[in-house]
């Protein structure tokens, strides 16, 4: 089988500078609950590898820090990602990678919505519905081929 790349020539962007986590201003209390913010969530997902290119989702601008919305009070995170081409058939795999990484990284109290950015995908509604149907996600993660693909993309993000 000849496998053709869906986007053969993606544009590569510069990575954003890595900022150290800002130290708490108050005297250090090791039992204090640390707030989870936009930067932290972005740090969890920026190094996920694209399923078909040796670049990170950040380098391909599939995700940006601004596309992460966090409401720590409400235990809510939303990530909007932008596929490199609007008919990208890898969109559900990318979305699955984002969901799995956040599932493994964030406390279980978090509710996570993963969506493609409005107007960035030909079948936006269908992709969003599938990515947010937890039964479909659970079934997909029991599929070893799909899980291996996800794990390959996530490997660099655990460094």
């Amino acid at each position: 089988m000849v496998s053709e790349l869906i986007n053969a020539n993606p544009i590569i962007y510069e990575k954003k500078e890595r900022r150290p986590r800002t130290a708490p201003s108050a005297p250090h209390d090791e039992y204090a609950v640390e707030l989870i913010d936009q930067q932290e969530v972005f740090d969890h997902i920026r190094d996920i590898k694209d399923p078909e290119h040796p670049y990170s989702l950040e380098e391909l601008k599939v995700i940006t820090e601004e596309a992460v919305e966090v409401d720590d009070q409400r235990n809510y995170v939303r990530v909007m990602f932008t596929p490199t081409v609007e008919h990208c058939s890898m969109a559900t795999v990318i979305g699955l990678c984002l969901r799995v990484k956040l599932m493994r990284s964030l406390p279980s109290r978090y509710k996570v919505d993963i969506r493609v950015a409005p107007g960035s995908h030909a079948t936006e509604a269908a992709v969003n519905k599938q990515l947010n149907d937890k039964e479909r996600v659970a079934a997909a993660l029991e599929n070893s081929n799909l899980l291996n693909m996800v794990d390959d993309c996530l490997a660099p993000s655990y460094d």
């Binding site: 937890k134 039964e135 659970a138 029991e142």
Partner: protein
């Protein structure tokens, strides 16, 4: 004032608890209440109430049969058989032999994940549904044999739940395609047809329909959805009308604004209270609103239980016993047993 009081928090499953089912023959005449639960850990657990302490304990673990998530389970009306539907594309039938559960049959045929299984009122028919978009009807034959008598194609997507009407051989299915379909055997010869589709044009849901439940008399049905609403439907007569033919279901009312994430489960009690459980970790109870003005909402919120679980609630089910007892199953891996009490 009413209160939903937590009686017990049951631990044992090691993954999401997807569904639970009460044995309908328990909770009466000195027989302790029993229910089954199933999970992403690929097992089914049987829980029994101790009559003296009133507390539940796990009495059996049904494992090493399903190879993937067990998505739902259902007891036969006699309470002797338990059917379990799995993402491994099979439905297993378990027989209770003196407290031990033996897998006596495995129903194969669906192309991929089986999402739900339901017994008809007489225990003579079984229905299953799958992500393969089909609904299968199986006839229960002597000797734990099951024969597929019909494969129903009609949904355009993943079928999430099947449920038989509580008194008639009419089957209801709800789907990722946002609709509820009603199936009946009009020719009396295993000629099952879709007789009605409740979709957006009939005031239906605008996203995945996850579950449905009937009231005790079977003339009303409540559905719940990813569109964050609950909808109540009614029919003029259950079963076949005097002139023959099927009495259609119509939309009665929509309850919105009560849950702010997907509503996965709804169950109507014999006393007329329906409970809903959702991805917002909350349980809501609704009752008939006797003081409702003409054109006003016909059901009102009786009680809300925020933070009922630490994570999504996947299933809420009223017990068949005398007291109003509700069990809930969650992604947090626990099951909680609640009693509705007044204070």
């Amino acid at each position: 004032m009413m209160e939903l009081k937590e009686i017990q928090r049951l631990e044992g499953h090691t993954d999401k608890v997807w569904s639970l089912a009460w044995n309908p023959t328990t909770g009466h005449a000195g027989i302790p209440l029993v229910f089954a639960s199933c999970s992403g850990d690929k097992t089914v657990r049987i829980w029994e109430q101790n009559l003296s302490s009133g507390l539940w304990a796990c009495t059996a673990v049904l494992d090493e049969t399903h190879t993937r998530t067990v998505r739902s389970c259902a007891w036969s009306p006699s309470g002797k058989l338990l059917a379990t539907a799995s993402f491994d594309a099979t439905t297993a039938i378990w027989e209770n032999v003196g407290g031990d559960f033996e897998c006596v049959s495995t129903l194969e045929g669906h192309e991929n994940e089986v999402k739900c299984v339901s017994w008809n009122a007489a225990g003579t028919l079984l229905a299953t549904c799958s992500r393969d978009k089909s609904v299968w009807i199986w006839e229960v034959l002597p000797g734990n044999e099951f024969e597929c008598v019909s494969v129903l194609q009609g949904h355009s997507q993943d079928v999430k739940m099947v449920k038989w009407h509580p008194t008639e051989d009419i089957l209801f299915s709800c789907s990722y395609d946002n609709s509820v379909k009603v199936w009946a055997d009009e020719g009396d010869s295993d000629d099952w047809q879709c007789v009605q589709t409740l979709g957006e044009p009939n005031n239906g849901h605008t996203s995945t329909v996850w579950a449905l439940s009937f009231n005790v008399s079977g003339d009303k049905m409540v559905t719940c959805s990813d569109d964050l609403t609950l909808k109540v439907w009614e029919t003029e007569s259950v079963g076949t009308q005097s002139g023959g033919g099927f009495a259609p279901w119509t939309h009665l009312c929509t309850l919105s604004g009560y849950h702010d994430r997907t509503i996965f489960s709804v169950h109507w009690s014999r006393e007329g209270i329906f409970a809903s459980g959702a991805a917002d970790n909350a349980i809501r109870l609704f009752v008939d609103d006797n003081e409702s003005q003409v054109g006003g909402p016909l059901y009102k919120l009786l009680l809300k239980k925020e933070k009922a679980h630490d994570m999504d609630i996947n299933s809420v089910q009223w017990s068949p016993g005398e007291k109003p007892v509700l069990a809930s199953a969650s992604d947090d891996g626990t099951i909680k047993v609640w009693e509705l009490t007044s204070y």
